[in-house]
């Protein structure tokens, strides 16, 4: 859709197309802002094969067996499980997390029939319908956007496209389970190398019970010609979702990876504890973009997804670069700190984030930049938006090791408040081990002013649209980091998630 609009305009107005297209999109977006109900709150009735409720060694063996995993994979899981049993949930975040009964969760659910991958006709029609409702049908994706899609539907990958194009370049992009079967050496080498199984409580849990996820390997010198995209959905009552993603960019490789989530409306809480690991070797670059819209719970804070995610990238080689961009509008509780370990000299880590909380949502999110190599650089741009009764915290750590000479960090943490019942908090930690490095931190807190609103109203723009405009303007620095089609979706989400928050 978007690409067509863009191309059409480009023909008519060769010099002005970009600005106009952006405005077009924004206007379309604003037009679509209608009701405050969670739009993606529907669920599809597909037969599931599920593990019994609860978690013990048997559950893990069940999962591993279902996936016909080799011994080493089962070992990895069991060791993680042993670690997990000795650990405690982290309690340092500025979050109020209700007790979670880990024995009352189903750890494995898979669609019974795994469709063939040859054509869309083989995909369960109900699944296609689900994607259509989301406006992200594989069909549309395939034809119009040129994005290869690995659609994860309740834990098991059911569709992978564009494999031929990717194959030509030697790129591996498949479900994690397939990677375990077909690329065991790569998985063994890199899995757990960035986020060790015992890294934290939720990472350990994920390592023990992860159901599936995505694997991506870009061989040396290859620039991935398409944006790789995975859509996640939680779709089964009481099913925890434990995704695991591993991205490896070999020397001189480049890849842009997109992750987007929508979840159906549910009354009960759903636990989501994903792990994402990125490895960038010498001269490699990985750009990881997320638009996250898990069900946030209703207006009174009932229900909603708990999103406890460990995302970390390792700039392993010299001159490597990892960039995280996230737009977080969903989840009842978010606990998430996409981080970079800058091991290689001259390596670069970036974190761009917009986190929106409304109603009774809670978010504790930020980034950790660990500088180890010399001349390493990191940038953190965080834009928090709080509305309703929500709490939104930025938590960041910039750590510069003694040997990381001449390193630089720039952090900017802005908070925007809508209304007077919400909270914005900033917890920046800085730890510098040498004197040749420079760390800068800027922070602002602002409110949408009555004067700004009056100015918009006086031009005929109503309150909801005005807030959409102002908030998108505020978040622009981050949104512009996203690939075009993703940016549009993100703008939509921002406007939708703040509906009814003022006036």
């Amino acid at each position: 859709m978007l690409l067509i609009t863009f191309a059409g305009l480009f023909k008519i107005l060769p010099n002005k197309s970009e600005e106009i297209t952006m405005s077009d999109d924004k206007n379309n977006i604003l037009d679509e802002v209608t009701q405050g109900e969670y739009k993606y709150g529907f669920f599809t009735d597909i037969e599931m094969e599920t593990a019994p409720k609860g978690l013990d060694e048997g559950t893990i063996r069940f999962i591993s067996e279902k996936k016909k995993e080799p011994e080493w994979m089962l070992d990895f899981r069991l060791k993680a499980f042993e670690r997990w049993k000795t650990m405690k949930e982290p309690n340092w975040a500025h979050l109020n997390i209700p007790p979670i009964d880990y024995q009352n969760i189903i750890y494995y659910a898979a669609p019974k029939k795994k469709p063939q991958l040859d054509s869309l006709d083989d995909v369960d029609p109900e699944l296609l319908e689900t994607f259509n409702k989301l406006g992200i049908s594989l069909d549309e994706q395939k034809r119009l956007t040129g994005v290869a899609v690995d659609a994860v539907f309740d834990s098991v990958s059911v569709k992978t496209t564009f494999q031929d194009t990717l194959k030509k370049h030697g790129i591996v992009f498949c479900s994690f389970s397939e990677a375990v079967q077909n690329h065991p050496d790569l998985v063994k080498k890199y899995m757990g190398s960035v986020v060790p199984a015992g890294d934290n409580y939720f990472a350990a849990l994920n390592s023990a019970v992860f159901s599936d996820g995505s694997f991506c390997y870009i061989p040396p010198g290859v620039r991935c010609p398409v944006e790789l995209s995975t859509y996640f959905r939680i779709n089964s009552a009481g099913t925890g979702q434990f995704e695991r993603t591993l991205i490896v960019a070999d020397e001189g490789a480049y890849v842009s990876y997109l992750e987007g989530c929508t979840a159906p409306m549910r009354d009960e809480n759903q636990l989501h504890a994903a792990v994402v690991e990125i490895v960038a070797l010498k001269d490699a670059e990985v750009k990881y973009s997320t638009v996250q819209n898990w069900y946030p719970g209703d207006k009174n804070g009932k229900g909603g997804v708990y999103n406890f995610v460990t995302k970390r990238g390792m700039c392993k080689g010299n001159q490597s670069k990892i960039s995280w961009t996230q737009v977080e509008t969903g989840s009842a509780i978010t606990w998430k700190y996409p981080s970079c370990v800058l091991l290689g000299d001259n390596s670069i880590g970036e974190f761009y984030s917009v986190a929106v909380t409304n109603n009774h949502q809670q978010a504790d999110t930020g980034s950790k930049m660990t500088h180890i190599g010399k001349n390493t650089k990191s940038t953190i741009i965080s834009k928090g938006i709080s509305a309703g009764f929500s709490n939104n915290s930025y938590r960041g750590l910039v750590k510069i090791a003694r040997r990381a000479e001449n390193s630089r960090n720039f952090s900017q943490c802005d908070s925007l408040l809508l209304g007077d019942k919400c909270g914005a908090h900033t917890f920046p930690y800085i730890d510098t081990g040498n004197s040749s490095s420079i760390v800068e931190h800027e922070a602002t807190t602002s409110k949408i002013s009555d004067d700004q609103l009056f100015y918009c109203l006086q031009r005929g723009i109503d309150t909801e649209k005005a807030i959409g405009l102002i908030v998108n303007g505020y978040a622009k620095e981050v949104l512009k980091q996203l690939p075009m089609e993703f940016a549009v979706e993100a703008q939509k989400l921002l406007a939708v998630s703040l509906e009814g928050s003022v006036g």
């Binding site: 107005l13 405005s23 006086q458 005929g460 405009l469």
Partner: protein, 249 residues
């Protein structure tokens, strides 16, 4: 078009406007003059629908409809435009996007489809030329980093884009050098037609050398104490406001 009868307005219990009457017809330019703190900007704010003003008495009719019953954005959509004395900045929102949104809201209100991109650009170009605004300004965020003069020109640019029926320009001349003043006045004059009306609020006669008013009103102590033609402005310039105080009592 606009009919204000016995208007009384208070801010936080303090009466600012005390029995103001004003009638503006299509095709007319009215100038409202007067010293600081006499209620000029309050009048503009009340007509535009800013919050925080209590109308304690009187009525304001716009095209025979009760204006005070209308929401702020509805007044704008019905063709009322306020040129702000202090235009606000909206970071990250480009002027182009802002205008496009405003224009399309107006079109939606009138049952029209969004403006086609080609037409929009043409309109932008025309409006830009009118007030001598450059591309770099329209690509910037709304009023962000604009100089005082640029902000004022930008208000007239928006007026040209939105083609209001009733434009109220609140101290549009303040802070302008003579060249910028001429540009702004030229813009306003070019936008004048038999179907629209303009109310120019100013404290100096200077602007009125370039925007020739049909009527000049002197606001003093919340009331119009004297009305006349353009010659009244000249008289005020010579004599100041003091002599009118006597008439006010």
């Amino acid at each position: 078009m606009l009919n204000i009868k016995n208007l009384h307005v208070a801010i936080e219990g303090k009466e600012i406007i005390r029995g103001l009457n004003l009638e503006v017809k299509a095709g007319e330019v009215h100038a409202i003059m007067g010293p600081n703190g006499t209620g000029k900007s309050t009048l503009a704010a009340v007509v535009a629908g800013k919050e925080g003003y209590d109308v304690t008495q009187g009525e304001v009719l716009y095209h025979h409809k009760d204006l005070l019953e209308m929401a702020t954005e509805e007044r704008a959509l019905e063709g009322i435009f306020l040129g702000f004395q202090y235009p606000v900045e909206i970071p990250g929102v480009s002027m182009t996007n802002f205008m496009r949104t405003a224009l399309n809201e107006q079109r939606k209100y009138r049952g029209l489809d969004p403006i086609p991109p080609g037409e929009f650009l043409e309109r932008m170009e025309k409006a830009k030329k009118l007030v001598d605004i450059h591309d770099k300004l329209t690509n910037r965020s709304v009023n962000e980093g604009f100089s005082g003069g640029e902000k004022k020109r930008n208000e007239i640019f928006q007026m040209a884009m939105l083609e209001p029926t009733l434009a109220i320009l609140d101290e549009t001349d303040s802070g302008l050098d003579i060249d910028a003043l001429k540009v702004v006045a030229h813009g306003v004059n070019m936008l004048k037609s038999k179907d629209n009306a303009t109310i120019v609020i100013t404290h100096y006669q200077r602007l009125l050398e370039y925007i020739i008013p049909d009527f000049v009103h002197v606001l003093f102590d919340g009331k119009i104490v004297k009305s006349g033609g353009k010659e009244l402005a000249i008289e005020l310039e010579e004599k100041g406001y003091e002599w009118l105080k006597a008439e006010a009592v």
